[in-house]
């Protein structure tokens, strides 16, 4: 009891989340009562095979979708009753997404790509540029601000995407198979970057993956199967991704 009372408030507090789809006549129970708390500064992986409900959980945690039942509190905001526009605002303020396929705007500079979320925050152009440049420097692309996204290597593109996730100063970063489209060297570099951001800046990072290598770099691993959380444990053998640091 005394230990839990000194813990900070969880950034994610999800209780008994269920998600049911109607597929024609059949009902698909993608999530069946998932409960989890994630505290600020954590580095964790949500693992599970395809069809396990992992993507559904990520969509709900990322406020892209809403649970059929259960409660979800993100960084102090109850999101289960918000409308689409309010959810968009929550995503803009509190969540940074990193995708497997980067999802950068082609023929658009790195700087401008990173700026995009801030446009929807309503920031002025000058402040947007300053913050975007800072975010790109933080991911080691300070010298690539004006490069077109499609002229960068895969690893560099994913760094731009990470900068785009960081730039709004979100409560959590949700990374969906972030190394899936990268070779192992670039993948390791990206994991190193995530670890560094987590350790040096205390950024909460949640990976959604079926890749054991990603999970092995995390502090905590949640396993999901058939829409239920089947394991939630601390990883005792957390690997360091950064070789030269």
């Amino acid at each position: 009891m005394t230990i839990t009372s000194t813990m900070p408030d969880p950034v994610i507090d999800a209780d008994l989340l269920t998600k049911t789809y109607k597929l024609g006549e059949n009902e698909v129970h993608a999530l069946q009562g998932a409960t989890l708390k994630i505290y600020p500064g954590d580095l964790l992986a949500i693992m599970g095979p395809s069809g396990s409900g992992k993507s559904t959980l990520m969509n709900i945690l990322g406020c892209l979708d809403q649970a059929t039942a259960g409660t979800y509190r993100l960084d102090g905001v109850d999101v289960e009753n918000l409308d689409d526009d309010a959810l968009a605002e929550v995503r803009n303020r509190k969540i940074g997404f990193v995708f497997q396929s980067f999802n950068l705007l082609r023929r658009t500079s790195a700087l401008s790509n990173v700026e995009q979320p801030l446009i929807y925050s309503g920031l002025r152009a000058r402040e947007r540029r300053e913050r975007s440049a800072a975010a790109l420097r933080a991911v080691g692309l300070g010298d690539r601000l004006d490069h077109q996204a499609n002229e960068l290597s895969g690893g560099q593109q994913q760094r731009v995407a990470i900068a785009r996730a960081l730039v709004t100063d979100p409560a959590i970063i949700l990374a969906d198979e972030p190394t899936g489209n990268l070779d192992s060297k670039s993948g390791a570099e990206i994991m190193c970057l995530f670890q560094r951001l987590n350790e040096q800046k205390g950024i909460t990072v949640i990976f959604v993956t079926h890749d054991q290598r990603i999970a092995s770099h995390c502090r905590r691993i949640i396993r999901i199967s058939d829409g239920k959380i089947v394991a939630d444990e601390v990883n005792p053998d957390q690997l360091r991704a950064c070789i030269d640091v």
């Binding site: 979708d65 995503r91 929807y120």
Partner: protein, 413 residues
């Protein structure tokens, strides 16, 4: 501030695919260009025609023999009606409110000078006709009362006649020419009125009406009643206000004089220049509107082109839409992004269309010799309308984009 971002984004997107953007906006450009060119040419023709009639004299009322026919076979006269000198005298002495009046007797003939000949309409006139018709003397003098009284064989010729008969540098004044074998002396030349759709106005020669009736075309001017016949009576009303009264009085005097029973149709026509100008103006305005409407249809086709390309664009950029929603774009932001893109496309197309239209109107006016009249209002309306076309045809694709589910959109391959 957000709007500026959206407009900037629209331009960046369009520049990213320049060929597609140009081809799409070309559809609108052609539509707007066609509307502007056709309306400008139509307006030009309208003004040109009005000017032509006005140059023939303002507030002018003409009286001609015969009834103005409406349609074919509507009661033709067995014997063509004739107006005579006594009709003219009745009008001249009875009608009030005119500043000038004249009478003419015209026949086509040839003027011959040292082996060269010019085929023209010879107008036998009373002195005031030239001023009513708006002629100005270039060299020499007009026909005067003394000429009429003495049936003198004098001619005042138009520039086309002068060109036909004389070398450049040769002075026509006091030259002796022949008409129907009779010697005539040229006493004046007229300032050119140019040619119009009415034909070459300068192919004309004036002579005193008495000379024409009694010396030149003696047998042709012999009316059935034994009197000399006339071709036209010209009256110039004091002003616009007195014109209807002059017209009405003239008709009444002539009907009384010619003993036409009330209810019977007149066997002569009293017509004002203003009526003619108005009816021509109405026809041409209707024609211009009609042409503009046809051109506007091509503008709609251009709009469908925009809708088509915007739908393709929404499909192609589904993942971008998904991403934008994931990073916090509300539905309204996506809607305005695609809507502004369509509007920018259509408006740019409209602006290019204005250039095409003005160039087309000028080219056509140069080729046809009719001045085009590009009105700033029609340019504004055309660009404004193309913006509306963009708004209208962009709305559906933009709504489609804004309603995409972010999860589905991000998963889209």
């Amino acid at each position: 501030m957000f709007l500026i971002e959206v407009i900037r984004l629209a331009f960046r997107t369009l520049i990213a695919n320049p060929l597609r953007a140009i081809l799409t906006l070309l559809g609108i450009s052609i539509g707007v260009g066609a509307v502007i060119a056709l309306i400008s040419i139509g307006n030009g023709v309208q003004h040109y025609v009005t000017d032509q009639f006005s140059s023939a004299g303002t507030n002018v009322i003409t009286v001609t023999p015969g009834r103005m026919q409406r349609g074919f076979g509507g009661g033709a006269f067995a014997q063509p009606a004739q107006l005579t000198m006594s009709d003219w005298r009745a009008v001249a002495s009875g009608v009030q409110g005119t500043s000038a009046m004249g009478v003419s007797f015209s026949r086509a003939s040839n003027i011959v000078f040292s082996g060269k000949s010019s085929s023209v309409n010879i107008d036998g006139i009373s002195p005031q006709v030239t001023s009513i018709q708006g002629w100005t003397i270039a060299t020499g003098r007009f026909i005067d009362d003394a000429d009429v009284a003495s049936r003198s064989r004098v001619l005042v010729i138009g520039q086309s006649v002068a060109k036909d008969l004389f070398e450049s540098g040769e002075d026509p004044i006091d030259q002796s020419v022949r008409v129907n074998g009779l010697p005539f002396r040229i006493v004046g030349t007229l300032v050119s009125k140019g040619s119009s759709f009415l034909g070459d106005q300068d192919a004309i020669a004036f002579t005193p009406i008495t000379t024409a009736q009694e010396r030149l075309f003696g047998s042709q001017s012999q009316g059935t009643s034994g009197e000399r016949i006339i071709s036209t009576i010209l009256l110039q009303a004091n002003d616009d206000a007195s014109r209807p009264a002059v017209q009405r009085d003239t008709a009444q005097i002539l009907a009384d004089k010619r003993k036409i029973e009330p209810g019977e149709p007149n066997d002569f026509t009293v017509r004002s220049q203003a009526e003619l100008v108005n009816s021509f103006g109405l026809v041409l305005a209707a024609l211009t509107t009609f042409l503009g409407a046809i051109a506007a249809i091509s503008l709609l086709v251009g709009g469908v082109g925009i809708m088509n390309i915007m739908l393709v664009s929404v499909t192609e950029r589904t993942r971008e839409i998904g991403l934008r929603k994931a990073i916090g774009a509300k539905s309204g932001a996506i809607l305005s992004q695609f809507l502004v893109e369509a509007i920018v496309l259509a408006t740019l197309g409209g602006m290019v269309g204005v250039l095409i239209g003005v160039a087309g109107a000028n080219l056509a006016s140069r080729l046809a010799g009719i001045p085009a009249d590009v009105q700033p209002a029609s340019v504004l309306v055309a660009v404004g309308f193309s913006t509306l076309v963009g708004l209208f045809f962009g709305l559906w694709p933009a709504r489609r984009a804004s309603r995409l589910s972010p999860i589905e959109a991000l998963r889209f391959e």
